[in-house]
Symmetry: none
Subunit: 265 residues, 2 copies
DNA sequence: ATGAATCGCGCATAAACGTGCATAAACAAG
DNA sequence: CTTGTTTATGCACGTTTATGCGCGATTCAT
């Protein structure tokens, strides 16, 4: 049994927090985690449902607070691959650096995987990334203020660039929308793309994580050519020709660990 | 029996210190540790609970962190009461208004309860509040940028006030730290308090939600006198004298719905 | 359609709780 | 030293709370 949950009250509070954070919960998982029967968990969920915190479903409960908007849907797309890319990206970050994390679901995964006491200075335009990092004592968090773009989940307007000028960015992780080996990076939101271009100019080194589904896709606004990015972080199932092409053009290419589930034994 | 606890007073002090340090305590563990019956421990905990040091739960007591503690612990304190206060506060907000939500766990509860399509413009210095509102299509979200204060969970430095000047605030919900009927509102963080003072000056109307545990408490930095706040939102179990006093001083006092569980049928 | 998993409900049980009362030690005053 | 008072404590008893289990009903997946 977890130490923080010796009391029924604390157990319920833990579940409540999880649901309020948008995490769906399974009855049998919770029962195992807290060392009680599923009945006890079900009673908790019944009560939390009456509070309006969650909606009970067969097998557990779903958070009621978060809407299923454009952002959350992206967060649920291939989370495992994003997590593996982010784990690889973490190797790039050194203590003492100032790192910009652009608003992106893959960068959010990166933020969530950051150790508690990594001595870095994070600058971000994403409220979700900032929220994910608040509790880490070893991480300094700076957020760019202003109007939050509902599609992007962060700030991307022109003034954000001015605010960015306050910081000296060692390393920048761009949020990618679309990538094609000949066209380069592109985005769907004009303001967002303008912001990303400015970001690329200001940062001393740049990196981007690309899930395989984004390879060979297009978007209306160009961000930069393929050579405009210093480091690409790709899944191992990315095409060999693409990897060779990027390497040949002088870009660094890092591969994430392969999916253990897809491994042939 | 522990040496430091031969006397009842010392035993109680030991428990008090433990709770103030944020450690949850179990009745039967304490009984065994100090060599007394659980009744004696329960009496201690009752007393400490009356002091406002802890919250009694089935099996023992949980530390009742003062507003000086870290953010997450505050989020777990009496969530039901905060939720009821927030539900009452929601009545104050009208469509089309520009509302500032100060960094506070009660205001976070307010944000979470906001309807999807309430046509309001929210300005906040809290990344958690901004994150909670991202997916609501009818709510415009603006966040004050800069360095995020780990204790407060938002931005409170001097430049935040400059950024605030960009907005015309119709209504402001202050995050309260401590309140005493004669002293007024006070806070634990100097920067935070300076920010709150500026906020009060800029907003056309002001409100604050106060959980019962905060009534009659003190903090080092004064924010304003009791009459400096336009509307108080209190739990129905707040003292009648306090309510009359505030009403008599010209403040509006709203009461949240009572706890349905505590109702006599 | 059929089997497995999950659910809701009622009941039993054990632990924790509150209250009232008696006891004993500590303490102050005569 | 005695007496009365306060304080802390333990115990008994009835109540509340949290939990687990059994059973039939429901839901899900194949």
């Amino acid at each position: 049994m977890r130490d923080s949950s010796r009391f029924p009250t604390q157990r319920k509070q833990t579940i409540r927090n999880r649901l309020l954070a948008g995490v769906p919960v399974l009855s049998n998982d919770l029962a195992a985690e807290f060392g009680v029967s599923e009945d006890a968990i079900r009673r908790d969920l019944r009560s939390l449902s009456a509070e309006g915190v969650c909606e009970r479903v067969y097998g557990g409960a779903l958070p009621l607070s978060t809407a299923s908007g454009p952002l959350t849907s992206r967060l649920n797309d291939s989370p495992a691959e994003k997590s593996r890319l982010a784990a690889r990206a973490l190797d790039l970050i050194c203590a003492g650096e100032t790192v910009f994390l652009d608003s992106s679901s893959t960068n959010l995964s990166l933020a969530r995987q950051m150790p508690q006491v990594l001595g870095v200075n994070i600058v971000t335009n994403s409220v979700l990334i900032a929220a994910a990092l608040i509790e880490r004592p070893g991480i300094e968090v700076n957020i760019l203020g202003g109007r939050v773009n509902h599609h992007v989940g962060g700030r991307v307007d022109a003034k954000a660039l001015d605010a960015l000028a306050e910081y000296s960015i060692d390393r920048c992780f761009l949020g990618a929308c679309a990538f094609d080996p000949s066209e380069g990076l592109a985005g769907f939101d004009r303001d967002d793309v303008i912001f990303k271009r400015g970001l690329l100019e200001m940062a001393r080194s740049t990196a981007v994580m690309l899930t395989t589904e984004k390879l060979g896709t297009f978007a209306p606004y160009r961000i930069c050519k393929p050579t405009g990015i210093g480091t690409y972080i790709l899944s191992p199932d990315a095409g060999q020709t693409l990897r060779d092409g990027l390497s040949g053009a002088g870009c660094r290419v890092l591969l994430a660990e392969p999916d253990p589930l897809k491994e042939p034994i």
